[in-house]
Symmetry: C2
């Protein structure tokens, strides 16, 4: 039904000043002393006071209509939450703490009313949850909704966990269950209606939780030798970690902690292994642990399962031991924006 998919919106929006004023109100409600923001929205730039003994973490992420979300299927509050969550996830992957962020937002005049309010609502919830204050950014008008988020975080000097530290013999672990976000995306694409933000099966896709506490715990205790977040799918991200470290890896299909596919899903022939290997957007952590430290890793961290899925090898190949026991080359079939369209 076209009417519900394209709700009435006002055609002529307010000027830039009015849009900025509403963003500024959100900024005022996300700032805390720990955000270290000295000067926020309203000047040429934001001013940040770095903590001594720390390094500053810098990361930018696109979140674009049609590429990363759908205007009519994804609720505006979920768009607001997720655009920040995915950038904050990169801070978690370094073992750091998010401090503040810049929001660059381009949107149609028709979306400067209700849509913007709901978007800012989700963004504000995420900012408070992650302890990450809105410090500035840029707004403009555009036919498509375009978002770019830059997060500034901090990590105690010498504790950041890079992708390049994995050594042969290290065990390879993941947090959470892989493929849950991919399942949510599939359900949303099939239903073609605006998704319900509160549906638990969609939660991982709509409002992912960056693994900040886990990342920090692994970093501060020097337990992880290498770490990254899973944003494009295990089969695409694992090769990146291995390339940075100059190693290979062997993972076992039976050991993967996978999405639980509901019955309706099995009827559609969804394959949980397929989703766990190649599905993107999980924002779980992929990390390596030297064998001698493995006993210090619990089975779950504050309720989040931690699973050893394989090991790092000297030989630079990426191998998958299938459920049958057969060893095959792991195909790289996660998301590459230059080779495929996501949505």
């Amino acid at each position: 039904m076209k009417k519900t998919k394209h709700p009435k919106v006002r055609r002529r929006g307010p000027g830039e000043a009015a849009v900025l004023e509403r963003i500024e109100r959100v900024a005022a409600r996300t700032g805390t002393r720990s955000s270290r923001v000295r000067l926020g929205i309203g000047d040429d730039t934001a001013l940040f006071r770095a903590a001594s003994g720390s390094e500053q973490i810098l990361t930018s992420d696109w979140f674009l209509e049609g590429s990363h979300f759908l205007r009519y299927e994804h609720p505006a509050d979920a768009v607001g939450w997720k655009c920040l969550a995915r950038a904050v996830s990169d801070v978690a992957a370094m073992g750091g703490v998010p401090r503040c962020f810049l929001l660059s937002l381009a949107l149609p005049a028709s979306h400067t009313g209700l849509w913007l309010d709901q978007f800012l609502g989700g963004l504000r919830r995420a900012a408070k949850r992650f302890g990450c204050a809105l410090a500035g950014g840029d707004t403009t008008r555009r036919k498509d909704i375009l978002i770019n988020v830059t997060v500034v975080g901090e990590v105690r000097t010498g504790t950041a966990v890079l992708r390049s530290g994995a050594r042969p013999g290290d065990m390879l672990l993941t947090s959470g269950r892989l493929g849950e976000a991919e399942l949510g995306l599939r359900l949303i694409r099939e239903s073609k209606r605006r998704a319900n933000s509160r549906d638990p099966v969609l939660r991982k896709h709509l409002s992912p939780e960056p693994r900040l506490a886990l990342g920090r715990w692994l970093a501060e205790r020097h337990l992880a030798s290498a770490m990254m977040d899973l944003s494009d799918g295990l089969s695409t991200d694992l090769p990146r970690l291995c390339a940075a470290s100059g190693v290979g890896a062997r993972i076992e299909a039976t050991k993967l902690s996978r999405v639980r596919v509901p019955k309706s899903g099995r009827r559609r022939n969804d394959d949980s292994l397929e989703m766990a290997l190649h599905g993107g957007d999980d924002y779980e952590l992929l990390f390596t642990v030297p064998r001698l430290k493995l006993k210090r890793i619990p089975r779950s961290f504050h309720g989040l399962p931690l699973t050893a899925i394989g090991e790092i090898t000297k030989q630079r190949a990426l191998l998958l031991i299938e459920e049958s026991g057969r060893e095959v080359s792991l195909p790289n079939r996660g998301w590459d924006p230059f080779r495929q369209k996501k949505m």
Copy 2:
């Protein structure tokens, strides 16, 4: 002629890894020790080491095809230069020094060849010129060319010049000649061909120079009470400075340092005052100086003219004294993306 406007491009571009590799090569050539980047492209995030005794300047800027530049009229190297220059200009406006930047780039597969090379060439020249290292970012494929640049700069604690410090009686000054970028834009829009990056009349529009040395000099000597850069036009930016300071201003048309319009321009009835008041993209500095410090401001700073154009008033109005001597209200007619289309 369609052929020259739409040069042949290869339809299928390389994958994301290949695009990233070329961006990474540029990053390697822009890094210096003063950039303070400890870890650049290739990990989840960049790592930056803040200088002690400094505040960190954070700013993000959109640079979008159709809104801020035209794919076939603007040379790719000028797009690369300008996307960085305009964000760095915000650092100049605080009196700071740029350190590093994140590049978020979305482009069609057809533009990952020659266009990307030329774009990166201009970007690299700008990065070296401004002492601002490419530290990271995000790339994706998109029908339109979308750019977002985040610059991190630094300023000695206590010296940043805000918009909010102007006081009644302060003199109002600008650097350079206003309206030059607007004239360049008009010439490009009329010719409808790809512009020549070396044409001196177009230089201000195609490759603006952020006023870093001037901004820093004014800040370190505590000469400016308020400062911002002119990006959307004097008639739009001056109200912002006044609103932040809780003051008004009176400027004199005869005192403005304006673009020199070439003869062909006069034939087209271009109005230099119009362009100086309302034209955007000049990236000159607008700043206020307490009267007692005015004698310390030279007429030109390393060849760049500095011009007193009016004064700050207690009364919160924005007034223009026309060439006839008549005092009128200054209309706000610079760029507001939510009210008008730029290109």
